[in-house]
């Protein structure tokens, strides 16, 4: 004989509450969902019917555990349905088949009710179906047992659920938090939801500036929609964009955040599913670049994940994302035409978002490019201001190189763009596609130092001995020696290093401090990276100190000076000294003192 497993209900509930749902409070959502579903079904059958839900709370006091009563006048359950929905838990294949047919439902009755066991040991449900002549009472217990009986007395059509507060769950049976929770979940629900604590009765879903209908989103007063956003998210917004998507039957509002956002911060949109609150941390509703928006959106036809707190990542969702992004684009294009001030404001605050967007859509690239700001060696300039100065755009592709270049180019007041930040390189490299008169040129610190004025033959001959000594001195430090003429002349030398050489320097320095295993691993790797790129120390022929060193006759003095200039240029560039260099610093300083004495 085949035996059946017994499933421990307490265990299942523990699993649900601790893993599937993000908080025990979801039982309120499940109760509201069941009520709304029941009303929806009844109103389909009877158009004259007006549904409503009442929630009554008796707070726990003294000996009395609290009780929560949720009543709806929806379709109700027949005795058969009670057995079918409330006794079988998680019977997946049947359940899916069953609920697919009823896709106009938000929830799944039995599973939803189960979540009430998170806060209650006993659930009593009294229901009368519109299809039945008598009412049924179901009593379910936390230990997994339940009873069903017919009721003699007559009750009106609908369902009434009684939850008795479990000892320890009192916090969920307090009037104010409960009311807040009901507003949180049900404020957009299409049927009136009432809440009372015996004395006064309040309507939970009072009128809103919009109810997700197209008319309300497009025609409501701008200020009141902004005000609503302020209330919900507790922050000010610059403006909002009405959103619509045919796919998923979606509508809502995207608020434009009024401060800078970090693109890697989590986006948290508030999503309603058939006007029932689903989640306030949906991340994947909008495309990635839309991190300057916070949405309140309702969808009627999208699949949430099992926890019902996120959207399933499928083809349909991509379609939704692309329709919503169309709304955002249209808004921005519209601003570019009719409200340039606002667009400029958005670009200044949400530069990264706008840059990402420009890369995604050529049409927007052309529209926005003039306004996009870039960090340059002469301060932050918009693209328009840059092209007013020059049509040869010079840029570095990483921050390190920019900082080195900046030191040199500032003296010459050349405008060089720092494209080390995300998107900037891609934006600049796209320029020639759109503007035929603009040339772009990627520069590295070595390019800049290469562009310094060369010495003439006589000068080279004069400096020959000096360069030779310097090369010998710096050879153990993997540093090349150059001598050129450049501004400012107070600068005796400049240490330049490109990305790869910098990495090698970093590896070499770390090798010195690492344990023997890592030291040999790092050594083996760095040895084989192309050693073509090296750091270099470029001496300034225009500098008076260098001029004197070139003429100096004492070789020892020149060596010491080169050592100190090398160390000093490292320090100026914030390059930490490795032990070898540290030793050099100490010895050459002491030697110098010694020499002088």
């Amino acid at each position: 004989m085949d035996l059946r497993f017994k499933v421990n209900l307490q265990g299942i509930i523990d699993l649900l509450s601790n893993h599937l749902y993000s908080s025990p409070k979801v039982y309120i959502r499940e109760l509201l969902q069941n009520a709304v579903d029941a009303i929806t079904v009844r109103s389909k059958a009877d158009s004259g019917f007006s549904g409503s839900v009442s929630i009554e709370l008796f707070e726990p006091s003294g000996e009395n555990p609290g009780t929560l009563i949720v009543e709806d006048n929806g379709i109700g359950l027949t005795e058969d349905e009670v057995h079918q929905f409330l006794a079988v838990i998680g019977q997946s294949s049947k359940r899916e088949e069953f609920f697919q047919k009823r896709s106009d439902f938000i929830g799944q009755f039995g599973i939803g009710l189960l979540s009430c066991f998170i806060v209650s040991d006993e659930i009593v449900l009294i229901t009368k179906s519109a299809k039945s002549s008598y009412a049924v009472k179901w009593v379910g217990k936390y230990d997994g047992t339940y009873k069903v009986c017919r009721l003699e007395e007559d009750v009106s059509i609908g369902t009434k659920i009684f939850l008795r507060c479990r000892a320890g769950s009192e916090e969920y049976f307090q009037a104010q938090p409960l009311k807040d929770l009901l507003v949180h979940y049900g404020c957009f629900l299409p049927y009136p939801i009432y809440f009372s604590t015996g004395k006064n009765k309040v309507l939970i879903n009072k009128e809103k500036p919009f109810d997700f209908s197209k008319e309300s989103l497009l025609e409501s007063d701008r200020e009141s929609i902004l005000e609503y956003g302020r209330k919900v998210f507790e922050e000010d917004f610059m403006d909002y964009i009405p959103l619509f998507s045919k796919t998923g039957d979606i509508s809502g509002v995207a608020y434009i955040i009024s401060h800078k956002m970090n693109p890697s911060s989590r986006r948290k949109h508030r999503l309603y599913l058939k006007k029932m609150f689903l989640s306030d941390s949906v991340e994947n509703l909008l495309p990635e670049w839309a991190f300057f928006l916070k949405c309140i959106v309702n969808c009627n036809d999208l699949q949430p994940t099992a926890s019902r707190e996120e959207l399933c990542d499928d083809k349909k969702l991509y379609q939704v994302q692309s329709e919503l992004s169309e709304c955002i684009r249209n808004y921005l294009v519209d601003k570019a035409r009719f409200d340039k001030a606002r667009l400029r404001e958005i670009i200044m605050i949400h530069t990264l978002s706008i840059k990402a967007l420009s890369l995604e859509f050529d049409e927007l690239y052309k529209l926005f490019i003039d306004w996009l700001p870039f960090e340059t060696s002469v301060g932050t300039l918009t693209f328009k201001e840059i092209t007013n100065r020059t049509n040869v755009i010079q840029y570095t592709s990483n921050i390190d190189e920019f900082r080195q270049v900046q030191r040199i180019s500032a003296a010459k007041s050349i405008c060089i763009l720092n494209c080390g930040y995300i998107y900037d390189t891609e934006i600049v490299e796209k320029l020639p596609e759109f503007f035929h008169n603009i040339h772009i040129e990627r520069v590295s610190p070595t390019d800049i130092s290469a562009s310094f004025e060369e010495l003439d033959y006589n000068q080279r001959e004069k400096a020959f001995e000096f360069v030779k000594i310097a090369e010998v001195v710096l050879q153990p430090f993997n540093c090349l020696v150059r001598i050129k003429k450049f501004e400012p002349s107070e600068l005796p030398a400049l240490f330049v290093i490109d990305e790869e050489a910098n990495l090698i320097r970093n590896i070499e320095n770390t090798k010195e401090v690492s344990n023997s295993l890592f030291s040999s691993i790092l050594g083996q790797i760095s040895e084989n990276i192309s050693s073509s790129s090296k750091a270099q120390l470029c001496f300034n022929y225009n500098n008076s100190l260098v001029a004197r060193l070139i003429n100096a006759s004492e070789k020892e003095l020149v060596c010491m000076s080169v050592e100190i200039i090398y160390i000093q240029s490292l320090l100026m560039g914030h390059y930490p000294l490795n032990p070898k260099e540290m030793k050099l610093l100490n010895s050459s300083l002491l030697n110098l003192i010694d020499y002088k004495l």
Partner: protein, 360 residues
């Protein structure tokens, strides 16, 4: 800590993931070092390890890690080694991607990782898993089998990979051993999104592409290609997986493959991580062979300026291009084979070259 250092840290934190952030973090580390601020140096390098690991700058990650490790060994009172266990498994998984690191050093590294895990009383599950990956990724299939069994039979603890990654790694191994049925079975929770994380299902889709083509499940393969590519195409850290998308497209839609090649070649060209470079170059070689096979001899290849091999090396005909990729790929394969003492990378080349004629 002085103000400039503090400002720099704030600025670094405000930046999105990527190279700019990494370079700023490196600058913070340099400055902290020059001020002898060991604590800041230690903490900031944790982020460098993470950034480097997930954004494709693996050498920076290894370098920062070895600095951190040295710190823990030098000052065990101040810096607890348990801080490093999580990162250690990333590092062992990176080091063998560089063929210049000799085999005995890799072995020593795994030994050291194992000792550190044992010292902290941690489960060896991550050690077995990483070693298994290294072994089958370097052609030591038989030894890998042993480690696979140890891995899945060890308990999970707080140093173990997340569940999603763990299952993904198992799928990876099962696919490698051609145990498709079992792989497709245990991958279900990932496909149903019951398990997910920052890299899963992104990389899982990718692993399944070629096996699904082999099994004739073309619709699934196409859908996984679309989803997977969309998830990884913006982050250079996923270079490792781009080769598979390229191969998939080479078989199903070679024009599209060329697009993807043009878009991501720069990643492969720039990377110092030779294993991944090899992977992408091999896929590119296969793609150009396919283009030639279907008569597209005059194919125009558009590459960004600094990785434009066509101009740099005067690759005027498709034969030139093929020869260049073949040489590059074989040179790298030789380095790995010499290090590993086998011919596994040649076998990989042979296997992938067969895809030129593969009809799904």
């Amino acid at each position: 800590m002085d103000n400039r250092l503090e400002d720099l840290i704030l600025e670094a934190h405000s930046l999105p993931e990527g190279k700019a952030k990494l370079l700023l973090l490196e600058e913070v580390a340099r400055m902290a070092d020059s001020q002898n601020d060991i604590e800041t140096g230690f903490n900031i390098r944790k982020e460098i390890v993470r950034q480097g690991m997930f954004n494709g700058h693996h050498l920076n990650a290894i370098t920062a890690f070895s600095w951190r490790l040295a710190c823990c060994e030098k000052y065990p009172q101040e810096f607890d080694i348990s801080n490093l266990l999580w990162e250690y498994k990333w590092i062992v998984n990176l080091v063998y991607l560089f063929p210049d690191v000799p085999k005995d050093k890799i072995e020593q590294l795994f030994e050291d990782m194992k000792n550190k895990y044992n010292q902290e009383g941690a489960s060896l599950r991550p050690y077995y898993c990483m070693k298994c990956k290294y072994l089958f990724g370097s052609g030591f299939g038989e030894m890998a089998e042993e480690y696979y069994s140890k891995w899945i039979n060890s308990p999970r603890d707080s140093y173990s990979d997340c569940k999603a990654c763990d299952v993904d790694n198992q799928v990876y191994y099962l696919l490698y051993t051609k145990n498709y049925e079992k792989a497709l079975d245990i991958v279900q929770p990932i496909l149903l999104r019951r398990l997910s994380c920052a890299e899963v299902p992104h990389i899982t889709y990718n692993r399944l592409l070629l096996p699904l083509l082999e099994l004739g499940r073309l619709d699934d393969a196409q859908s996984f290609h679309e989803k997977g590519y969309k998830l990884i195409h913006k982050n250079k850290g996923f270079l490792e997986y781009m080769g598979n998308h390229l191969l998939y497209l080479t078989i199903t839609d070679v024009n599209m493959a060329l697009n993807v090649f043009e878009k991501h070649f720069q990643w492969a060209f720039d990377t110092l991580t030779l294993y991944y470079k090899f992977d992408f170059y091999l896929a590119s070689w296969v793609m150009f062979l396919k283009l030639k096979k279907i008569g597209k001899d005059d194919v125009k290849v558009h590459l960004q300026k600094d990785c434009n091999i066509i101009e740099k090396y005067n690759l005027n005909t498709i034969e030139d291009i093929l020869a260049w990729f073949e040489k590059q790929t074989r040179d790298m394969a030789n380095k790995f084979n010499t290090r590993n003492g086998n011919d596994y990378f040649n076998i990989m080349i042979q296997d992938k070259l067969k895809l030129v004629d593969f009809q799904p």
